[in-house]
């Protein structure tokens, strides 16, 4: 099932939530909608499910225009940010819900339903928790129940709203890999919303970066990371130094090199302001002679070899930089 989003606009009173968004998601693709809060990514996701309505524009699943199809007929799997598990039902009943509310003609027999739910429980590795209630589960388990519940109705597309947002860092990492594996297995068209760059880059086939209701860039993780189309994308994807004195030159901290002696070629001198030893890397705050405050990252070994101290005068060279025309704002 491919998804085509055509010139979607939505405004709330005077505020534009989405401005002419066009996006195509291929069948079987895992797409991340990445952006800061308020960028319109969740709105777009809810529109795919039919939970929000656009002011104008169209959404196609394959060749079918979905705009006027009500939510319950769209057959989308939606995983809510806080899961929205039904608290009065067991895990089993939660997953079976979508199968049991089907019209009688389309409903499976209860043995079939049992079988299907057990299968899904197996898929999310929670067979032994079928009779628990949601409050008896950990965050990660709830997340997987929510996913199994969404998958139960054999959805045409799977939509996840900040799927790892409510979890702690360790569980988040594990579930991320697990979701990626699951996707390899199911190959279902999947869209998930996140504000976490690392998450988007690690999990998704392609990433759509959004800002202020507009699509900034769409591409593979490495595309978006290495060839950002705008200053916003570059800045959003990671730490960045802006050399205001050099007409908006953008450099990532690990692409700045520190030298104790003046190197050959272009370099500039700076004074070390602070040194932070972060374990695997060392971060150095520098003040250039032109007055720019910049950060550089170097390996611990290199740091030791250079023997840097606070207030040292050093030379820095730029390994790689970006400049974006007409965008100097910070």
């Amino acid at each position: 099932m491919s998804i085509k989003i055509r010139s979607i606009c939505k405004s709330f009173e005077t505020f534009d939530v989405l401005k002419d968004v066009n996006l195509e998601i291929e069948s079987g693709e895992l797409m991340a909608l990445l952006g800061p809060s308020g960028s319109g990514k969740t709105s777009l996701l809810r529109m795919l499910a039919g939970l929000d309505v656009a002011d104008s524009g169209d959404i196609y699943f394959d060749d079918q225009n979905m705009v006027d199809v009500p939510v319950r007929e769209r057959q989308v799997g939606f995983v809510f940010q806080h899961y929205a598990l039904f608290p009065h039902m067991t895990v089993f009943e939660n997953i079976a819900f979508g199968l049991r509310v089907k019209p009688r003609k389309l409903r499976m027999s209860s043995e079939k339903i049992n079988q299907k739910v057990m299968e899904l429980l197996g898929l999310v590795q929670l067979e032994n928790l079928a009779s628990r209630h949601p409050w008896q589960l950990s965050g990660g388990q709830r997340q997987r129940v929510a996913l199994a519940r969404a998958l139960a109705i054999s959805p045409r597309v799977l939509l996840l709203d900040e799927p790892f947002g409510a979890l702690d860092a360790k569980v988040r990492k594990e579930l991320r890999q697990w979701l990626r594996q699951l996707h390899e297995e199911l190959r279902m068209t999947t869209v998930f919303v996140t504000h976490d760059v690392e998450e988007a880059l690690e999990v998704a086939d392609r990433v759509a970066v959004m800002q202020n209701g507009k699509l900034e860039q769409v591409g593979t993780p490495s595309d978006v990371y290495h060839h950002p189309s705008s200053a916003f994308v570059y800045r959003f994807m990671g730490q960045v130094n802006v050399f205001a004195s050099r007409q908006g030159l953008y450099v990532r901290p690990h692409l700045l090199e520190i030298h104790a002696e003046m190197p050959v070629g272009e370099s500039f001198s700076a004074k070390i302001d602070q040194i932070y030893d972060l374990g695997s890397v060392v971060r150095v705050d520098l003040l250039t002679l032109e007055g720019d405050c910049v950060q550089a990252e170097l390996t611990y070994d290199r740091y030791k070899a250079l023997g840097l101290k606070k207030a040292d005068l050093v030379y820095i060279t730029i390994k790689e930089s970006k400049s974006f025309v007409g965008d100097y704002s910070i």
Binding site: S11, G50, L51, V53, A54, D55, S56, V71
Partner: protein, 280 residues
Amino acid sequence: MAGSKPFFRRKLLPGFGLSLGITLFYLSAVVLIPLSMLFVKSFDLSAAAYWQIISSDRVLAAFRVSFMSAGISAVINAVFGFLIAWVQIRYQYPGRRIVDAMIDLPFALPTSVAGISLTAAFSVTGILGFWLDKIGVRVAYTSLGIIVAMTFVGLPFVIRTLEPVMQQLGKDYEEAGTILGGNRWQVFTRVIFPLLLPATMTGAAMAFARALGEYGSVIFIAGNMPYKTEIVPLLIISKLEQFDYSAATAIAVTMLGLSFLVLLMINVLQGWQRRRVTSL
């Protein structure tokens, strides 16, 4: 989509028309239409006739009695309600849950039952009245009796309004105040009390509104002497029993108008309370 105004937008969940339809129909049939009768009826009266009824000595006296007694009982409830809420939230003691349930008694106890019980307790032969009489205080069949009954029916309001706010407040502010060098009295008067004042006043205003309209529990203990211990609801009933509908309507409309003013005041107070507490 047809329009972008929310009212015309397709609703996500079903049942909007049905539920709003039932709501508006039932609200109109049970509340709005009957209540509007009062205003329709009051238009039969000329302004002069209305004024003559309202400005008669007996009516003015009844309003004075009602407002004075409700006001005093609201103040009593504010003070003791604050204290009781504080004890209930801050202290653990055996029987606390039972006391908590008891506080709702005035809501649960029918007003006529409350009326006869209070009268029996406070009359000169009653368990409290006997001792009060010895020190020269008469409660039953005096204006003091009205205050007692009104205090009883309004008792839960201040407590129930304050409790959640006190709970939410926790001990942080108190501790912050103490760390900053305040003594107990300073911390209370400058930190805690100002934070709880809006909720206290909201509760007191609710108790006042309830006391103003109260009939059942007051009439038994009040004595019901015109000019002295006659409350407005009783006056309305006696006008109705004399089939003097114009007088009853005039008094009722006035009373209702004043009740709405109190309601408005409660809304303003609640807004104040929300601003003060949610900005924490």
